[in-house]
């Protein structure tokens, strides 16, 4: 089987061999690792697109459980006595993990007992209270869907957008300016203006690395990292201006914007129409990628820029267009936050949504549906982690660790496959990738 696999050259000029010589010499079953950035990120076949992400999340949660088990004070004390009472130590660990994850789960999805009681009482207020955690999960997932898309879309063209954070901030700056200055507009129009301003601000910011890459070849990873910081300081500067700053406050905070998304399930739940906007954006990206010429060009450039150029496409134009679109998506996330849960621009406004987008795009295999599912999952984790911290003093930062591990297991699927002893997809016939 191994002999069928010829060494081949990747478009980037990187010479890649399908497998290690030692494996061949040892007579081990050799499987072809995916080659090329886009293929690594998107994966092929159900094993890589469904099984590996699922196991990655599961394994990351498992490792998270281990970390909690060995850091929770009570469980740690029990391990100190493990020599005399090993079972007690195990039980204490299990209790600690169980309590933390149960709090995480009920914080994310709601308390089953509460649901039952609410249904029995038939009191709308009770039902709303029971649905509260679920509503929060969707509220957190909404910006995550958008920033996830902002990373996933460039992935398909072979671009790595680390700039979601800055694009979100740039979008939020413009959206905030629109939201508190165009107050003469009627409500729905003002909301539309805020959303549009967010998309425009993020789009402009995103197009900078696209332009730089197209014109000068500057690597988008470096430029987007740097632009994140520039955007943060730009926001800080604007917050020091008369135009932005809230007159009655001394700390850097903007005037609150006057537009808000309508609530979907009544005033007591924060679930708002921004979710519909995010889902529509995901549908639009899916449509763009799969049903339009532009989307085809994006993917052709991602698969092989030289071949795309030879076929008459313009990789340069694609880079600009795709980064502008990605920036617009991240900017929408900024507008969404302003028009819902945080009506004022502040320093650190983004609170990591842009960085989370990278994890989500990787976990969702750079596909819109995958990104939505990944965003819902991490929305749940983020929302649930707050009640976990409140109930069990487990620091919310455990979510960042879990997120990092998900990135690791997706990026190095060999680890997950090794743990669960599943093979990769079988090696293809001679001639390298199609």
């Amino acid at each position: 089987m191994a002999e069928l696999d010829d060494p081949h050259r990747e478009p980037g000029g990187v010479e890649v061999l399908p497998e290690h010589e030692e494996a061949r010499a040892a007579g081990e079953a050799v499987v072809r690792e995916p080659t090329g950035f886009v293929e690594i990120v998107t994966g092929r076949g159900w094993r890589e697109t469904v099984l590996v992400p699922t196991l990655a999340v599961f394994t990351a949660l498992l490792v998270g459980a281990l970390i909690i088990a060995f850091t929770e004070p009570g469980s740690l004390a029990a391990w100190g006595r493990a020599g005399r009472d090993p079972l007690g130590a195990l039980a204490a660990s299990a209790r600690a993990v169980g309590a933390a994850y149960r709090a995480l789960l009920t914080g994310a999805l709601g308390d089953p007992g509460r649901y039952a009681e609410a249904v029995r009482s038939r009191d709308p207020a009770e039902i709303a209270r029971a649905l509260g955690p679920l509503s929060e999960t969707f509220v957190v997932a909404t910006p995550l869907i958008l920033t996830g898309l902002a990373v996933a879309l460039p992935f398909r063209a072979g671009l790595f957008n680390i700039g979601g954070e800055g694009q979100l901030t740039a979008g939020a700056i413009l959206a905030a300016a629109a939201g508190f200055s165009l107050t003469s507009l009627p409500g729905p129009l003002l909301l539309a203006a805020v959303v549009a301003a967010g998309a425009v601000g993020g789009g402009l910011w995103g197009s900078i690395p696209g332009l730089l890459k197209a014109r000068t070849g500057a690597h988008e990873v470096i430029t987007t990292i740097m632009l994140n910081f520039v955007a943060a300081f730009l926001a800080l500067f604007f917050l020091s201006t008369e135009f932005f700053r809230r007159p009655d406050r001394t700390d850097p905070i903007s005037k609150p914007i006057e537009a808000a998304f309508p609530h979907l399930l009544g005033g007591s739940l924060r679930l708002h129409a921004g979710l519909l906007l995010a889902l529509a954006a995901a549908a639009a990206v899916a449509w763009l990628l799969n049903r339009t010429t532009i989307g085809f060009e994006f993917q052709a450039v991602g698969a092989n820029p030289d071949a795309a150029r030879a076929a008459g496409m313009s990789p340069s134009r694609t880079y600009v267009a795709i980064m502008a679109l990605a920036g617009a998506l991240a900017g929408l996330a900024g507008a969404n936050q302003l028009a819902s849960v945080t009506p004022s621009l502040t320093p650190g406004f983004s609170s990591g949504f842009g960085f989370d987008g990278i994890t989500l795009a990787l976990l969702g295999r750079a596909r819109p549906v995958g990104v939505v599912l990944a965003a819902l999952l991490f929305g749940a984790l983020r929302a649930g982690s707050r009640s976990m911290q409140a109930a069990t003093q487990t620091p919310v930062d455990i979510i960042v660790v879990i997120q990092a591990l998900v990135v690791l297991f997706i990026a190095a699927p060999a680890i997950v496959r090794g743990i669960y002893r599943i093979g990769a997809r079988p090696a293809r016939a001679a001639g390298g990738p199609a």
Binding site: V16, L17, I162, T216, V230, L234, S240, I398, V400, A404
Partner: protein, 421 residues
């Protein structure tokens, strides 16, 4: 890169030399217009002594007339630009570029301090101290990337070094053990980057991002879980200043350079060692060969993967020490996310310094200066928002990466996995 594009190398460097000369002239014009014509009559007073530190001679304050100074400095810049355009400085261009930037900065300071006074030495010292973690981060990047492994996890290595160093020093009550543990933990991070990038051939940007996230999450988690309740774990103390006899009594140089804690001396030693190592030893030649053309290096018997492993581990250790500076060399306690992006500025400094240790240190000094200047500007009442100075390093790096100012070219095989045939 130029050779690959079919353009003779000489033609490119001639264009670049001319562009540099024109840049000098532009700087001269800017000094004359902004700080000469743009300022009224007046004097600026610069303190040349650091409070409480005696040197051989106590220097009088340097008092300069702002306008005349600006014109003199502008003339000097214009002269350098003229020489560059006609004769060219050749290999010394970078040195002259540094001098021109220094002249511009001095003219700016004189303008900013007009009718007021400013302690020049305090400024220099704070510039140096602020550049320390940036330099460690940049050196870490140089070590990794010269061998062909991209390291965007520098920030994470700084964070983990800071936490590990603090806890180890607090527990053992020995700052040196803290420093060593910081280096070891940084080295472990480097090793992890190596395993992912070299053994598993994970995309190096993703691998670096993973390590950054992991370090960010774990340090915050552990510090929230343990350090907040147990303050005795977060009380390492800090390295005291070590006055070097005789040298520290020199005026100007003494207090700035020779009256620092061990991190600053270590930084200078590492810059020298890495520079000499990379460019004047067999080891360095091999490392650069591995980073530029691994297959050729392999052909002549250099062990490519081992070289890469060694360098990412060394790079991680350097960043770990840089992380320990935050706690053991500066603040004396660990706080969540205390590195505040210094690792990413280090990455920027490495690029700005063109993957060269001394260049990276120069860039770190410039960035450190921008950082320390922004705290002074509001005191002096200069109408430049400090935010723009803070974003300057990042903007400068973007310009460099885009080739607008001075093109930076990474090692040819940077970021590419190597598989033996």
């Amino acid at each position: 890169m130029s050779a690959a594009a079919g353009v003779p190398v000489g033609a490119v460097s001639a264009t670049r030399a001319r562009a540099t000369g024109i840049f000098f002239l532009v700087v001269a014009a800017a000094i004359a217009l902004l700080f000469g014509l743009g300022s009224g009559p007046g004097e600026a007073r610069f303190g040349l002594n650091l409070g409480g530190r005696e040197t051989f001679v106590t220097l009088p304050d340097l008092v300069v007339p702002v306008r005349a100074t600006a014109f003199v400095l502008a003339a000097a810049c214009a002269f350098l630009g003229g020489v560059q355009l006609t004769r060219g400085f050749g290999r010394r261009t970078n040195l002259v570029l540094g001098a021109v930037i220094a002249l511009f900065v001095f003219a700016f300071l004189a303008w900013a301090a007009r009718g007021d006074q400013m302690n020049l030495l305090g400024m220099l010292k704070s510039t140096l101290l602020r550049s320390v973690p940036i330099t460690f981060g940049a050196l870490s990047g140089v070590l990794c990337e010269r061998a062909g492994v991209i390291n965007i996890a520098i920030e994470g290595m700084l964070l983990s070094g800071a936490l590990a160093g603090t806890v180890a020093a607090s527990v053992t009550d020995d700052l040196w053990i803290g420093l060593a543990v910081g280096a070891v933990v940084g080295g472990l991070m480097g090793w992890a980057l190596g395993v992912l990038a070299i053994r598993y051939q994970v995309d190096q940007i993703i691998a670096g991002f993973f390590l950054y996230l992991l370090a960010l999450g774990l340090t915050s988690f552990l510090s929230a879980r343990f350090l907040q309740q147990n303050q005795q774990l977060n009380n390492p103390g800090r390295f005291q200043e070590l006055r070097i006899p005789v040298l520290s009594d020199l005026p100007i140089l003494g207090p700035v350079l020779f009256d620092n804690n061990v991190f600053v001396y270590l930084m200078f030693a590492l810059i020298a060692a890495i520079h000499v190592g990379l460019f004047a030893t067999t080891w360095g030649l091999r490392v650069r060969a591995v980073g530029e053309h691994p297959r050729a290096a392999d052909t002549v018997g250099i062990r490519v993967l081992a070289t890469r492993y060694r360098n990412v581990i060394l790079g991680g250790m350097v960043a770990g020490i840089g992380g320990a500076f935050f706690t053991l060399g500066s603040v004396g306690r660990f706080d969540e996310g205390m590195t505040a992006g210094k690792g990413f500025i280090g990455l920027a400094a490495m690029i700005f310094g063109r993957w060269n240790p001394i260049g990276a240190f120069g860039a770190a000094l410039v960035f450190g200066f921008a950082d320390s200047l922004q705290t002074k500007l509001s005191i002096l009442g200069v109408p430049i928002p400090s935010e723009f100075l803070l974003m300057a390093p990042y903007l400068a790096t973007i310009l460099v990466v885009a080739g607008v100012v001075r093109r930076a070219r990474p090692p040819a095989a940077d970021g590419q996995p190597y598989v033996k045939e």
